[in-house]
Amino acid sequence: MKFKPLQIIAHIILILGVLLMVVPIWISFASSSHDSVTILTEGMKFHIGDQLARNYNEVLNEKGGWSEEVTAAKMFINSFIMALGIATLKVVISAMSAYALVYYRFKLAVPIFWLIFITLLVPLEVRIFPSYKIVSDLGLTNSYTGLILPLVASATATFFFRQFYKTIPDELLESAKLDGANAWSFFIDFLVPLSKTMIAAMFIFMFVYGYSQYLWPLIMTTAEEYWTVVMGMKIIYTESYEGVALPRTAERFAYIILSMIPPVLVVVFLQKWFIKGLIQTEK
């Protein structure tokens, strides 16, 4: 098969795109396998060095933080729990509220939907003081509940689920009704399996959203055992004895690479569902 010029150009563009995505990650990874001194003196690296095992071991097991109480491993677990909680609850709550909005034709359904939608204009950062006040009054600072709960309402996901449910033909509901399905079983037996793709996609987005939260955990947690990855990135290797030691650049790279693993795993795992869902729902 011969390539036409247009195809060659297209491939070059695609390859450039791939490089744009992959090269920074590769540089981070390669740099994480060198000594901090090497990186500071010679700049970032393209090839793998000999300090790989030592750097990663140090990142995972060394206790850091102000009072040296928390390891990076613990922070990964915290972030994972937080992201998992946020993503799961967001999907469940959004799917159910969209179900109510679409299938229960009560008078205020449309105003309520817009009210939910308007919350997009008020992200957490804007309402951070009242949110903090409420959570701290409830005594939820320094807890997983406090990390997760204020972030679980999602207008975006509600909107997407609502649009999806609206495309499901009414006959399906009517037919299910005649088959003896009640409101709950219609949701579980029909809407959930039919929106599998949607759920997988939403879960991925919301997981990444939860995982990359910075401001909220920063404000919420005073105890180091609840620190999350993203805030840790800033804090963990800040040396308290400034000016004396060298910045630990290599460990930071190792930390960055490790911090990417949980969201990547979620995407890889759910992608199967995602594709399966796409194939099955085609009519």
Binding site: P169, S175, K177, L178, D179, A181, N182, P193, K283
Partner: protein, 350 residues
């Protein structure tokens, strides 16, 4: 009281549209009733009220001696086949059939037995593990019917189930539905806008127009004896010819001919209806037709032409006759089979 009783049933939508006007109807057990009418006449609304998918504004619906007005559709023990089948896209055929049974808390072995029996009856046993998206139109249709049969409901409701099929398959499925209904013996209501479907399927036929049952009877009764202009025009293909006329002293004068000794006391403006198949050629016939077009169907010829006053007219003759385009035909009405309707009310007067 009969099996299904509709008493003065009325449906008014919230926006004020009156879809069904005080309709009363009784259907006997095992009967195949067809609702036929043009789109928007209220036939589907009536069916959906029986199913419980639409609220009843006024009137009562009784099924098997029980008042159904406030009963939830899932409790009514009715099964419905939808126009687009409404199969459950994420379940395989087996689960499509079994879902209704599972919801009724029937044990697994009985479900399997029932599903397999229904599948055998409909010849879909080979597809039980497939998803609806992998089935052809005809197979989907069967699954939809299987889903209705398997529950052994009190009544089957069909909402234009054949309109998504191609012409050949439609005729085949029409036959199968009729056979199946006779075999299973379940009371059925079938909604259609296709008068051929209506004629062939029905034990009894309800011709509905503007939310009112215009006429109720066996297909032949309705064909032979339409009570109104609407029914006369709706049932029969090709459509009945209508001519304007005047009735006075039992004599009808229309389009240049007269018919005497008509059995009616009505005087005034009327519409004369003559079916294309109730005409025959004869010398000095009543009607003179200048032929525009001949459709040869093989068994029959449909001859389209114009009367002297340019009015369109259709005549159906056996297929072995050759009729030239542009020639003139002289036609007589066979055995006095013609219908006279009051022009203002549309009511039959002879």
């Amino acid at each position: 009281m009969s099996f299904l009783d509709l008493k003065n049933v009325t449906k008014i939508y919230p926006n004020g549209t009156k879809a069904v006007h005080e309709t009363s109807l009784s259907i006997d057990e095992g009967e195949f009733m067809v609702f036929v009418g043009p789109s928007g006449c209220g036939k589907s609304t009536l069916l959906r009220m029986v199913a419980g998918l639409e609220d009843i504004t006024e009137g009562d619906i009784n099924l098997d001696g029980k008042l159904m007005n406030e009963v939830d559709p899932s409790e009514r023990d009715v099964a419905m086949v939808f126009q687009n089948y409404a199969l459950y896209p994420h379940m395989n055929v087996y689960n499509n059939l079994a879902y209704g049974l599972k919801n009724r808390g029937i044990d697994k072995e009985t479900i399997e037995q029932k599903v397999n029996d229904a599948a055998k009856l409909l010849q879909i046993s080979d597809y039980l593990q497939r998803k609806p998206s992998m089935l052809s139109g005809g197979q989907r249709q069967r699954v939809a019917m299987g889903r209705a049969i398997v529950r052994n409901p009190k009544i089957f409701l069909f909402d234009e189930p054949l309109s998504n099929l191609d012409a050949k398959l439609r005729i085949q499925m029409r036959l199968e539905i009729k056979k199946l209904q006779q075999k299973v013996g379940v009371t059925s209501i079938f909604v259609t806008h296709d008068q051929v479907e209506a004629m062939t399927l029905a034990d009894r036929l309800a011709v509905i127009n503007n939310g009112i049952i215009e006429q109720l009877g066996t297909p032949i009764e309705i064909y032979d004896n339409p009570k109104s202009l609407f029914v006369a025009g709706f049932i029969g293909s090709p459509q009945m010819n209508f001519l304007d006329g005047n009735l006075k002293n039992k004599t009808l004068s229309a389009e240049g001919f007269e018919i005497k000794d008509i059995n009616t006391d009505f005087d005034g403006e009327v519409t004369l209806g003559i079916r294309p198949e109730h005409l025959s050629q004869s010398e000095n016939g009543l009607i003179n037709l200048k032929i525009d077009l001949v459709e040869q169907l093989g068994s029959d010829n449909l001859v389209y032409g114009q009367l002297k006053n340019k009015k369109d007219f259709c005549y159906r003759c056996p297929g072995n006759q050759t009729i030239e385009k542009g020639s003139n035909l002289s036609l007589n009405i066979e055995n006095n089979k013609f219908y006279i309707f009051d022009k203002s009310t549309g009511k039959r007067v002879n």
